[in-house]
Subunit: 327 residues, 2 copies
């Protein structure tokens, strides 16, 4: 029982919107002692963490530009691309810290070279590195994999996430293209500005968990979802015919076909859901009504992973390597 042990010492590394959400959650946990907070933003450095994350009270932890102590665990949230954050992850592990990161590309590292480097550092330092979040990290990979365990056979697997962007923060509403014309949307896709990160990682984690090597994996298709009515959110207005959001898909074909479909758009309140459809023996159809809210759940996944990570074997793990629950 975690409650009888001394609290785990934890640092928050990166205090953007997600990092701040993680820090707020860490501060509510009796089994966590937040001992450090790190960010590169000069406007945050030197301030109390409580002030930076809008708590309305000081928590006695001053934001620094580098990690100066050696906490048990670091919650890392600075970027989506593994290449950009690999050096940070190595530094943190070399200090002797376990690391739980929201880096989407870390959820199932596809770059074999970086993965191997991280694995060597983790093993040498005897620590565990895990990439997690709600997506990638749970609703389109870990949860579907877990559901398939009741099956004697699986022919194909459909994983569908319809997320209502209306209840998400403004940057996300902008990022899915809400309010753009279809042409603006396509230009933004071509410029790499509209893309949910991690869909390929989720697909490959699912394939790996099922023991399937796909014969063929499609390119990710990124299409606009056009509003069929006016949609008004707290932050913006979408006219009929304008873009409401993004429809992104990927599929792996092989002994088992696995398709992932992500629809993230404003005005989706009536149809929002997370769904897993297994065609197999038996067929299984699972639904989470309304779907799991992105930002809050990502912070939850990171924090809930901590007690599992400190007990896991050293190395670079994925969510398919650990058991998880609320803590």
């Amino acid at each position: 029982m975690t409650s009888h042990r001394p609290p785990l010492t934890v640092a928050q590394y990166g205090i953007g919107p997600i990092g701040a959400e993680i820090a707020r959650l860490l501060l509510t946990k009796s089994w966590v002692k937040v001992v450090a907070a790190v960010d590169i933003d000069p406007s945050k450095i030197g301030k109390d963490l409580g002030e930076v994350i809008g708590l309305g009270r000081n928590v006695g932890v001053t934001v620094t530009s580098e990690l100066e102590s050696k906490p048990d665990v670091v919650c890392h949230s600075t970027g989506s691309r593994l290449r950009d954050v690999a050096d940070q992850l190595k530094q943190l592990m070399n200090r002797g810290c376990h690391v739980v990161s929201t880096c989407e590309e870390l959820s199932f590292p596809l770059d074999a070279e970086i993965r191997e480097e991280l694995m060597q550092v983790a093993r040498a330092a005897n620590v565990t590195l895990l990439g997690t979040g709600v997506n990638p990290g749970f609703v389109m990979d870990k949860l579907p994999l877990t559901i398939t365990s009741v099956c004697q056979d699986v022919k194909s697997l459909e994983i569908i996430r319809i997320q209502n962007a209306s209840t998400r923060r403004e940057p996300l509403q902008r990022k899915v293209g809400a309010g753009m014309t279809a042409d603006e949307f396509r230009a933004a896709v071509d410029a790499g500005k509209i893309k949910h990160m991690g869909l390929r990682e989720s697909l490959m984690m699912v394939g790996n968990g099922l023991g399937v090597e796909f014969d063929h994996v499609t390119d990710e298709a990124i299409e606009p979802i056009l509003a069929d009515r006016e949609v008004v959110t707290q932050f913006l207005k979408v006219a009929p015919g304008q873009v409401a959001g993004v429809h992104q898909t990927i599929e792996g074909m092989g002994r088992i076909n696995v398709s992932l479909e992500l629809r993230m758009y404003v005005g989706a309140e009536a149809v929002a859901a997370d769904r897993v459809i297994v065609h197999g023996v038996p067929d299984v159809e699972m639904e989470i009504k309304g779907g799991v809210h992105g930002d809050r759940a990502t912070a939850a996944m990171v924090v809930n992973a901590i007690p599992r990570v400190v007990q896991a074997r050293p190395g670079v793990l994925t969510m398919d390597d650990i058991s998880i629950s609320f803590r």
Copy 2:
């Protein structure tokens, strides 16, 4: 990727209805080589496993009364009570075999003394012992725990399984009391003849996974569900007012309240489902339509656990200690 490794050698220990279902499934897996089959029934000993499990073909494995080889893994399915099977489990582990068992009381061993004995044997033999199945083992413990991982806070958890007994085998329909009068049902409950095994184990696994020590755990309530119309199955007929099945509940109260409700009765086709309702931040409501079929899924859980168990740490593990998916 399991497909490139030599197959795991596996023995089936116990060839009753569930053991036969497991054996049939094992024989379909390319990554498994079934090398032995054990049963105490003189009518099965000496026969080919394929004949005993009704395959209509021989598989080259003769049923014996004792395990004579040392397979990598033994699938054990001989009884529900830990006290009755503990010696078998120790023998199998002392041979150096990992063991995956359907023993319901093994899913979360509540008898501390037996658990400690098994733990010592497992560690000394450097093998892993796991109790699993669909219930206990998945739909009312492992799956709800996994679902809660998206939550920042959990106030209470409702776990509801409504299983349509009409599609289950005859012994199960009889075991839930279908066709009895209410008086006969209560007498059968008092005699210990009507009881789903493992509900308390599921509750305690959930509490443990959530890091909660319950202040109070209710006794298990076992009540009849009376038919409000005539129900006819392949095996029996239930008149209106007669017992259609069983309604069994248990609840743990503490920092988080957890309630488990199992309804297993004939004629439940319209309402059958597995459901998890989390009251927390956020609320989460998950449903598997129609519910997961018991016997088939139990065999699936056992076989799908094998690749995870051979990679797990030694000891007595529960489903909350391992990750799982179809293989």
